[in-house]
Symmetry: C2
Subunit: 367 residues, 2 copies
C-alpha cells in the first residue's frame, strides 16, 4: 500500500489532469458507471472547551479505473469573529499542531487498499477543478479579468484553475488583511502568466472583472447583488458567500450537486441526527433551535448540476449578456475517486511515495 | 499509530471485556453520549465475472472513552448453492487469497488516528457479545443446554459467549457437513468447560436445548417454527435463519437495532441507490425487480432493541414459560467503537502491535 504526502502530490498533480479526470467521472456517474455515497457528519461536543469534534466521511466508486475512494475528516472545529465576519476554523489539535484529513483508495477488482494520503492537496484541487470545469461552460469565451476574494488555500488553487480554462490576463486579489493578500500575490504570481495584483477594496477587485471567484471560508455574504452585471460569471466555494439576494439576480445558475446534502448524526439529537444544509454550523444554534431547523431545501437546489453541463443536458452560457454562476455548494466523494485515481496513476508513473506492507490490512478470516 | 493483527487481538481480547464494553456503550447511546452512523453499502458489478464488489462503511463515536471508530469492508461477493441452501460468500481476492475488512480508531480530543486493524476478530466478538448480552436478559437463569447451528467463525465466538452469561453444561453442535462439525467441536472443546458434542441432525441438536443459537450464513430458514417451545431462548445472526413463521410464534422478541437498516448506493440505480433490508442480496434479483423492492419494514422491526433491555426500558424474560428470541438483525458502528476502544486499551497495556508514524496521516494545511 502506497503512502503519499501532500508535498509529493503537489509536485506531480497538474490542474489539467484533475479537470479532465473530473469531466470523465461526472459523465460516467450520469451513465450509471460510478456511484457516490453522500457525506455524513458525525458531530460531538469537543471535550476541551468550545467548538465541536466532527468526523466526516464520503466515498465513491468508478468502473474505470476500477477504484473506490473514501475521504475522511477528523476535525476539531471552532467559530470566531474575524474582520466583521463569523469564520469557521479547524483547530490543528493533532501532534505537531496538525490537521487530520485522509483519502483511502481501494481496488474493486481485489478489494485491497491501494493507497492512503492526506487530503489537503487533493481537496483543494478537486474543488478548484470543479469550479474551472463549470467556468469552461459558463464564463464568456473572451473572459480575461478575474477577481479573487480570499488569499488562502482555495484562492491558491482557483487562480491557476481559472487560468487553465480561460485566457486570463489580469487577476485582482482582495482579502480583508493587507499583508495576507500581498503575501498571497507574491507567491502565486510565479505560477501563472497573468498579471496578478492585490487590491485595496472589494469594489476595486470587481470593477473590470469578467469572472468573480469567492474562495473564502466566510459564513456571511461576500458577493454583493449589484456586482451581478451582464456577462459576468460568478463562482464560489460556500453558499453563504453568495446569499439569496445575489443568487436571485443571476440569469443562469448551476450548482455542484443537488441530492447530496450531508446527513448529520449529532450526539443527543436522537438516532437520526438532524439535517441541515451545513452539517456543523447548525450546532452553534443550540439544541432547541437546531431541532426546528428542518427547513425545506432552498430554491437554488432546483438548479441544474455540474454533470448536467458536462453531458450537455443543461444549457451552458447562451450569449455574452447573461450573468452566470457556479455554486460549488457541496463536495462529493466522486471528486476524490476521480482525482485520487489520477494521483495514484501519476505516483506509480513517477515512483513517488513509499510502500508499507498491504498485508497489514488484509486478513485470512472471512469477516 | 498502532497496527494490530487479528492474531494479536485474539490473544488478549476476552469475551467478558467485550460484553461489558458493549453494555456501557448501549447505555451511553441511549443517554445521547454516543453517536452512530448507519451502515452504507456501495455496490458495483464485479468486473471479473459473477458477483459484486461491495464497499461497506459505518462509524460511531463515544464520549467516554473519547473515540470514533470506523469500520470498512471492501468485498468481492458471490452466491452459491450449498447443502440445499443459497449461501452468500465473500471471495478472498486480495493478494495471498485474503479478505479486506478494517477498523480505524480516531481520537475525538486531537482528531488523530490512533489505530488500524483487520476487523475479523472484533467483528465476531462484537456479534457474539451482543447475542450474549441479550441472552443475559432473555434466557432462563437455569439454562444449561445450548444448541449451536453452524461450525464457522460466528459459531466459534457464540459458543464461549453464551457460556459467559449462563452456566452451560452441554452444547450440541449441528452443521450439515459431518467433518466440519467434528473439527469444530474438537477445537472449541478446549476453550470451554461445557461438554461439547457434534450431533447428526438438527432435531438431535434442539431436543433438550434451553438456548438455540443459529450462527450460519444461510439465506433460508434454519430454525423451524415447531422448535419454539415454552422456556426456549433463540438467537440468530441473520434474519433469514429465523423466517417470519418462526418469528410469529415467539412470545418475546428483541432485535439488535431498529432504525439502522443499511442504505445502498448501487451503480445504475440512480443517485439515491435503492433500499432494502439486506444491502447486497437485492442485486441478485436484477434491476427491474430490485427497483420494485422498496417494501415496508417487516413487522418485527417494531420490536424493542437490545439497548432497551440494557437500560431497563424493555422487559426481559418475565417467567420460565415464555419463549424468547434475540434477532441480531444488523450490525452498528457503535459495537466497533465499544469493542475497538477495549482492544486499544488492552493493546496499550500489553504493548502489543507495532507503531507506524502517525505523522504520515497528518497534515499542516487546513484541508
Amino acid at each position: 500500500m502506497l503512502i503519499l504526502s501532500n508535498e509529493e502530490i503537489e509536485s506531480f498533480l497538474s490542474i489539467d489532469k484533475c479537470i479532465n479526470a473530473l469531466e470523465k467521472a461526472y459523465a460516467s456517474w450520469d451513465e450509471g458507471k460510478a456511484i457516490n455515497r453522500p457525506r455524513t457528519d458525525l458531530v460531538m461536543p469537543s471535550l476541551n472547551g468550545s467548538g465541536v469534534y466532527a468526523f466526516k466521511s464520503m466515498e465513491a466508486g468508478l468502473y474505470d479505473p476500477p477504484i473506490v475512494a473514501m475521504r475522511i475528516n477528523s476535525d476539531i472545529i471552532r467559530w470566531q469573529q474575524q474582520g466583521g465576519r463569523v469564520i469557521k476554523t479547524k483547530v490543528p489539535a493533532a501532534p505537531g499542531d496538525k490537521y487530520v484529513g485522509l483519502v483511502m483508495l481501494f481496488s474493486t477488482l481485489t478489494g485491497e487498499p491501494l493507497a492512503i494520503f492526506p487530503d489537503g492537496v487533493v481537496q483543494r484541487m478537486r474543488v478548484a477543478s470543479s469550479s474551472a470545469l463549470a467556468a469552461r461552460y459558463l464564463a464568456r469565451q473572451d473572459a480575461s479579468t478575474l477577481a479573487i476574494f480570499g488569499s488562502g488555500w482555495q484562492a491558491g488553487s482557483h487562480l491557476p484553475a481559472m487560468c487553465a480554462v480561460r485566457s486570463i490576463k489580469r487577476v485582482n486579489v482582495f482579502s480583508p488583511t493587507k499583508t495576507n493578500r500581498e503575501a498571497f500575490v507574491k507567491e502565486i504570481t510565479q505560477k501563472v502568466s497573468a498579471d496578478v495584483r492585490p487590491v485595496d477594496s472589494a469594489e476595486d477587485a470587481v470593477r473590470d472583472a469578467d469572472i468573480i471567484a469567492a474562495t473564502t471560508n466566510s459564513l456571511t455574504r461576500v458577493i454583493n447583488p449589484e456586482w451581478v452585471r451582464p456577462g459576468i460569471h460568478l463562482t464560489c466555494v460556500r453558499v453563504p458567500e453568495l446569499g439569496d439576494e445575489t443568487i436571485q439576480k443571476i440569469d443562469r445558475l448551476v450548482i455542484h450537486s443537488r441530492q447530496h446534502a450531508p446527513e448529520n448524526y449529532i450526539a443527543g439529537f436522537g438516532d437520526q441526527g438532524i439535517e441541515s444544509h451545513d452539517a456543523i454550523d447548525i450546532i452553534r444554534k443550540g439544541p432547541a433551535q437546531a431541532r426546528e431547523a428542518k427547513v425545506e431545501h432552498p430554491f437554488w437546489l432546483a438548479s441544474p448540476e455540474l454533470r448536467d453541463l458536462v453531458i450537455g443536458r443543461a444549457q451552458g452560457r447562451k450569449n455574452a449578456q447573461e450573468s452566470t454562476c457556479f455554486l460549488n455548494n457541496i463536495g462529493i466523494g466522486l471528486q476524490f475517486a476521480a482525482v485520487g485515481a489520477a494521483v495514484l496513476a501519476e505516483a506509480e508513473k513517477k515512483g513517488a511515495g513509499h510502500e508499507i506492507p498491504t498485508d497489514w490490512f488484509l486478513e485470512t478470516v472471512h469477516p
